[in-house]
Amino acid sequence: MVTVVYCARLREALGKASEQMALPSNLCDLAALRALLRSRGGAWAKELADGNLVRAAVNHEMAHADAIIKDGDEIAFFPPVTGG
């Protein structure tokens, strides 16, 4: 199982702050997880579309699409940050 967190505008658009997911055995990186979530359709397909700027973190570190994910990880998807 992994924990997937959605922040800010993504959380609102997806209607979910976080969820627990069992990773399919063939799923190994962030890009694949994003594609899996996108396949839910609706807001998921729209918000996580390839053209959208979506940042991600694995275990609280900024991560690229090819970042490896594994059981027990906390993965977060969010819009580009706007603090400061």
């Binding site: 922040c7 800010a8 609280h60 570190e61 819009p79 580009p80 940050v81 706007t82 603090g83 400061g84």
Partner: protein, 152 residues
């Protein structure tokens, strides 16, 4: 604790005094305070709500401070960032850097702020007379952060 995320306001004088206390080697202190403006992209801002990603926020800022310490000769750095509902003129963020000389203190302070703007997981939502909207990231912030990479 060099990184604090809090809803309450901060007193820069007090924080600076605490950071300087008992260190006669400090010859320079650079600080930055970010403040809520009442206008953004041409619209009046009535309120701003700041959200963050607990756990990652503290870690990412601590990492940015670590990078600053590796690049410049500084003694210490402090970052306080507020979250929750803020109004125009409210303070948002405080960065303080201490060092022996001003050059490194100035540079490290600006670097921490530029990296925080593009790497620390905070998001702003504005309330305007037209309704609420999430603030979009600015390309100028990416450019500001990128110039430190070119120098490095």
């Amino acid at each position: 604790m060099p990184v604090r995320i809090q809803t309450e306001d901060f007193d820069a004088s007090r924080e600076i005094a605490l950071l300087r206390r008992g260190n006669p080697q400090i010859g320079a202190l650079a600080s930055f305070i970010g403040v809520v403006r009442d206008v953004n992209d041409g619209d009046r801002v009535v309120q701003m709500t700041l959200e963050h990603y607990p756990g990652m926020t503290e870690k990412s800022i601590a990492d940015i401070i670590g990078q600053a310490k590796g690049r410049w000769s500084i003694f210490d750095a402090l970052v306080i960032h507020r979250v929750g509902a803020l109004k125009p003129t409210d303070q948002i963020v405080l960065v303080v850097v201490t060092g022996a000389h001003r050059g490194d203190a100035f540079a490290a302070c600006e670097f921490i702020m530029d990296y925080l703007k593009t790497r620390a997981p905070f998001w702003k939502k504005e309330s305007t007379p037209q309704g609420e909207r999430w603030v979009e990231a600015r390309a100028s912030d990416d450019i500001a952060a990128e110039r430190w990479r070119l120098k490095g």
